[in-house]
């Protein structure tokens, strides 16, 4: 029973990871590039002409990101949107490492060990 759960567990975890990688690596290319809900509402009252906001709206107070020139900024690689999928895959892996590492450190040791099967 445990052994079966262990094998199924491995397949399940691998499948989950593959789905996340496919979404970030491929589906990301068809994501809608329009401003999201928060951005569009903070831009209400302004019209955008030539990349500049005219009128009066909260978005005019938004500052450029301090790290806007970092290599993966805006889910691109070196500013090139053609590599969004690569940026996405790197993000999934980074999240997996950071979150997985954090949770592994925080976990209760030696309880419900799912790997006590031979």
């Amino acid at each position: 029973m445990r052994a079966v759960a262990g094998r199924r567990g491995a397949w399940f975890f691998a499948g989950f990871a593959v789905v996340a990688l496919l979404i970030a690596g491929l589906l990301s290319y068809v994501a809608d590039s329009d401003p999201d809900g928060l951005d569009s509402v903070t831009q209400q009252g302004c019209t955008e002409t030539g990349g500049e906001l005219r009128g009066s709206c909260p978005a005019q107070h938004a500052e450029d990101h301090v790290l806007a020139n970092s290599p993966l900024a805006d889910y691109a690689v070196g500013g090139d949107d053609a590599f969004t999928g690569i940026a996405g895959v790197l993000g999934v892996l980074a999240t997996l490492v950071v979150a997985g590492g954090l949770f592994w450190v925080l976990r209760r040791r030696g309880t419900r060990a799912g790997r006590d099967d031979p």
């Binding site: 399940f12 975890f13 989950f16 789905v19 996340a20 990688l21 979404i23 970030a24 589906l27 990301s28 994501a31 809608d32 590039s33 329009d34 401003p35 999201d36 809900g37 928060l38 569009s40 509402v41 903070t42 209400q44 955008e48 990349g51 009066s56 709206c57 909260p58 005019q60 107070h61 938004a62 990101h65 301090v66 790290l67 806007a68 970092s70 993966l72 900024a73 805006d74 889910y75 940026a87 996405g88 790197l90 993000g91 999934v92 980074a94 999240t95 950071v98 979150a99 997985g100 954090l102 949770f103 592994w104 925080l106 976990r107 209760r108 030696g110 309880t111 419900r112 060990a113 790997r115």
Partner: protein
Amino acid sequence: MTTVAMHASDGLLDAPTSVLFGAVAVAGLAVAVAGSRRDLDDRTAPLAGLVAAFVFAVQMINFPVLPGVSGHLLGGALAAILVGPWVGALCVSVVLVLQALLFADGGLTALGANITNMALLGTAAGFGVAMLLRRLATRSRAGLVGVAFAAALVNTVVAACGFVLEYAIGGQGAVSLGGFAAALVGVHVLIGIGEGVITALTVGAVAGARPDLVYLLRRRAPLREVTS
């Protein structure tokens, strides 16, 4: 240059408000870390890491909600249903921190507000709804999927309300708060429907493969299993 920035940028909130919600976020995360220790073991820790990675991936997928307006998953309810509210809040927080640091998405001074809204408030509200409707969720697969949808919808709307609160306290720019609140909450009801669909599909798929891993279904089960 237009960016597909997904979260609040720097500058929308004044400095005291940013500091205030930075403190709220730190306090909330400390509570979440303490609470999550109970829920993490050798089996759930890897799942939780995957859930965080999945939330990161799905947050990249903006979907259209109105002409010229998009939305994307926030993920708090999704994570909380699968791995519990404490770990769920940490999942979304890790995603937000990495997005701000690696992808220049979401301002650094706005990080506290973004964590407060999406990782703390949204997750708490979504999980609250899921717990209220838990009987329905445990009864049938359809019930679980419906509960996941409702929890995710509420999660999105409450996260938007969090930003309205922050904007009311220290928002920059002269706009009528009522109009701003109505527009922001209104558009997040639409985004919440998308969030609900994605959450329902994901929770349904996980429950189909491994119902034993769904936190909402095994709560009050052997939570206090003492092994030595």
